[in-house]
Symmetry: C2
Subunit: 275 residues, 2 copies
């Protein structure tokens, strides 16, 4: 059963004039709860507060929020925490209200850890819009991802890959994408589209700390198809090796295996044995 | 004082899992109420239902909704009606739920008609993302418009103009933009960005019905600056002539004046005398 808090108070109802609803004027985070703790909570809050600064959203006091989230997760061995920050209620009109009272809401839910598996993916026809102003941020404006995810029903396809108007890979609908070519790790830059995932950040740090060259760069469809290894990541799954993209097949390779092993050591234990 | 209804019941609270909030997964309409009636209600519902079909949103029964909105406006001489349609509540994850129960919400507010005036506008630095999948629709994902509108505080600037990544004009933050060149009317096409405004549609119909050539096309900054006349439109203001864009000045011209006069005859009486 899911539990929610809004501005620190148990409850699940928000005002219809909340700008998170009316304009997508806000941000969110999705965190794994492992052993009664939101995993990588500090990294998630780093991203949230950096995003709030970019959007000019008033942010709640961080130490207090950190404490509230820690308490909310304390009853849950394995589960998911979702955190939403919006510009709060306001009158009609795009201009941010002069007095902003942000809405901070979170919810927790028990959910058994799903052991990572090798996955099949597909291309989505829905493109990801390019906009440097919001690129990298996990904003509440996710309709493109909804439409991309609605393109397939086949349960054997775990994820869909999206490209922007230029044909550059932006990521999965709900994941970041990595590829390995000649022993180096590549992932799409998030300067014009895509989301700067927390697990993505952890993976890049791990790679660089362990002598694997890692680049955030433009990735075309062709570059992806020619890669030696491909995997996806997000906060709830760690790493999942991609073994099929339509006609192309891969086997999990040594770099993916090494990174998955490093994540297990950081508490992302659902990665164990996937490669 | 504002009044709201959610799924036909008076109230203003929505569930935190509503996909309108969590993903911007919905649409909205803003209508003028004039003489106790939502102006151009059928055109607004045409757009809403066309958008719902494009997004795969389940839509409420149209005749019933039409009746409910008519009743909600019946106590208001001059005001504003806002209508929101979302994919409704759902579990975490972008995939639309198998059983969708849409949320339909509306609100009404008395607001004295603001007589149209000649206006000054500016360029916004925030770009409008291009995406043919959602272009033209008034989706709940409006963060770009929020950020563009937050660029200026100067109350003497009525609107900001946005361009896409290619430098093509997409419209104002909350309006469509028209220009007149050599007696012909031009407005940005809404195939890759921008919103297909109801007032825009009325203006194009009026122009074409009165022998004014009207094109929906790509408009560069330079084409705009070289135009003979420029005006903006939306559902609440009808037409407002632009007389200054940074260093460039215009006077309201004959085509703008003619169209404003035609709108007055259609009930957009706030246009009278603006040119």
């Amino acid at each position: 059963m899911e539990q929610f808090w809004i501005n620190g108070v148990p409850g699940r109802l928000i005002d219809i004039t909340d700008r998170g609803l009316t304009y997508g004027d806000g941000l969110f985070e999705t965190m794994a709860i492992r052993r009664y703790t939101p995993r990588f909570l500090d990294l998630h809050l780093d991203r949230l507060y950096a995003g709030a600064a970019r959007l000019g959203l008033p942010a709640p006091e961080r130490d207090k929020l950190h404490g509230q989230l820690t308490v909310a997760a304390a009853g849950i061995d394995e589960g998911v925490m979702k955190l939403i920050l919006t510009r709060g209620p306001g009158p009609r009109g795009y201009a941010p209200p002069q007095r902003q009272a942000p809405t901070v809401a979170w919810g927790v839910q028990s959910q058994a850890v799903q052991q990572s598996t090798q996955i099949r993916v597909r291309w989505c026809a829905t493109i990801a819009g390019r906009n440097p102003v919001t690129a990298g941020l996990k904003t509440l404006c996710r309709l493109e991802q909804v439409l991309a995810r609605a393109e397939w029903q086949d349960a054997s396809i775990a994820e869909g890959l999206m490209c922007d108007e230029l044909g550059l890979l932006t990521g999965g609908t709900a994941s970041n994408v990595f590829l390995v070519t000649g022993g180096s790790l590549w992932t799409p830059a998030v300067t014009h589209a895509g989301i700067s995932g927390v697990m993505r950040r952890v993976i890049l740090q791990q790679a660089r700390g362990n002598g694997i060259e890692a680049s955030e760069t433009a990735v075309t469809r062709q570059v992806l198809l020619e890669a030696d290894e491909v995997f996806i990541s997000n906060a709830l799954i760690g790493i999942r090796p991609v073994v099929q993209l339509e006609g192309r097949r891969w086997s999990p390779g040594p770099v993916t295996r090494s990174l998955a092993g490093q994540l297990v050591n950081l508490g992302v234990y659902e990665c164990a044995g996937s490669c």
